[in-house]
Amino acid sequence: MAATDIHRTIETVFRIEQARLIAGLARMLRDVGRAEELAQDALVIALSEWPRTGVPEKPGAWLMATAKRRAIDDIRHDRMRARKHAEIGPDLAPEPDTGIADMEAAMDDDIGDELLSLIFTACHPVLSPEARAALTLRLIGGLTTDEIARAFPSSEATVAQRIVRAKKTLAKAGLAYEVPRGPERQERLASVLEVIYLIFNEGYAATAGEELIRPSLCAEALRLGRIVARLMPDEPEVFGLLALMEIQASRLAARQGPDGVPIPLTEQNRARWDRLLIRRGLAALERAEALGGADGPYALQAALAACHARARRADETDWRRIAGLYDTLLAVRPSPVVALNRAVAYSMALGPEAGLALLGEVERAEALRSYAPLPAAKGDFLFRTGRLAEARAQFERAAALTRNGPERAFLLGRAAACGP
């Protein structure tokens, strides 16, 4: 094997193993940053030894043993140093091995639990959503800083700094390194799901930059969602989010025209919707509902997406069912954006006047002041009622508000279609 081939292989194997490796080490050391450093150290040793010895049959175990040895060496070294500096006293008599034995015992705990602990820690609400996303992609996804930077997009330096600061924040916060139980579990889980969906949305409908979609980022989010669903098979909202992502991802090939202009859902070529993903999404939704989570916010959004997925043609869409689901979603998760989407659904079920009627309260929402989809929707309702001059003004306003190039082009196109 050429030198670069074996290095590529070693890096690929490491990438497959790294989340569990870091998870095991973090559990042992209660320190995510140190765990990642040790994992990297193990990689360096692998890169120098495996070209000679071959890739071990159980590479994960080899890496873990190597990193463990370094960790224990470090602890012994720190302890020796502490002993040299400490005053001699009976209550400071060193007990050399119990601490290490405890840590080794901790490492034999359930692997799934360790990985879940790492995920919960990387997604801790003490960090900003962007920091959580970067840290999760780094530690669980194994993406390089450069790959994360290209995904969002951001500069590599910004991402690197964000990750360093995130690790410091976690270390300083002195968090319990475990899977949350009891009353805070749902809140912490919500934070994890929020991160995964944030990553997905960056890939699905990029907020900035010149690309509308970045499919590889959706794939990362889906991977994370599938991993968490395996680790938490009894949590309905996990399946709700997974269902939502699978169904939305099914449309990726249809969302964009050849010139990069976004195509609205109702005009997409449904032959390009990925039916494998739709099947998977519907199955996940079924599981969420079977677990009693039909009214969870993600499950409701997934049910909405499923309504579209089931319609073979746009004019077969069950808009009344969609409007009803939005009524529930608005009650469960009130937000101006949901209220806006509900207005759109009503306009489709009952006509544009119904949509306009519901927009009144939505327009008063402070949060939507700079939200392009609001004037875009209003423009659409006005267009359909024949109020073209007013529609044009709304589309132009929406175009001015969006930060996404292809979306701006699309909105200006709609404005032009209103006539002079």
């Binding site: 590529r8 292989t9 690929t12 194997v13 990438r15 497959i16 799934g112 590889s216 794939a219 889906l222 991977r223 994370l224 969602g225 599938r226 991993i227 395996r230 680790l231 090939a253 050849p258 070529n269 449904r270 032959a271 390009r272 919707w273 039916r275 494998l276 998977r280 997925a309 089931r310 319609a311 073979r312």
Partner: protein, 140 residues
């Protein structure tokens, strides 16, 4: 990217030989690992080619040929669909698979065409034709 991972047939699979309990257990664990890693999309085992048929195309003629088929090593005994980052990742995962057969065997990996790959070859008319076909196959 997506890959199709093909388990190639052997004399044993063609003879309908059932896997041993150990192999079934090992395969079960392997499939779990694939699912736990979030890369598994689909997978099935195929019945021996004695259950299958071929249709031979030559100009306008269509000839139906019943299995079994001779070239055992070229036949497919099972498949997976995986979502992976690159071929290197697919290769490493295949290496971890327990040998699916009692004797020597092969597993083949083929990347799946994405829409973008076709973009330049398709004229709007041909593209629309493919779309109409997919729409008919799709159903809800």
């Amino acid at each position: 990217m997506r890959v199709m991972v093909l388990v190639k047939a052997t004399k044993d699979s063609e003879a309908g030989l059932m896997p041993s309990a150990e192999l079934l257990e090992a395969m079960g664990k392997y499939n779990e690992e694939l699912a736990n890693a979030g890369i598994m999309l689909a997978g099935e085992g195929l019945k021996p080619s004695s259950n299958g048929k071929r249709i031979a195309f030559d100009g306008a003629s269509r000839t139906v040929i019943d299995g079994p088929f001779a070239e055992t090593r070229e036949l497919v005994a099972g498949y997976w669909l995986w979502e992976v980052r690159d071929m290197a990742e697919a290769v490493e995962w295949v290496k971890r698979c327990p040998n699916p057969m009692p004797g020597p065997s092969e597993i083949e990996i083929r990347p799946i065409y994405e829409m973008a790959d076709f973009a330049e070859a398709l004229t709007p008319d041909i593209s629309a034709l493919h779309d109409r076909v997919r729409e008919k196959i799709g159903g809800s």
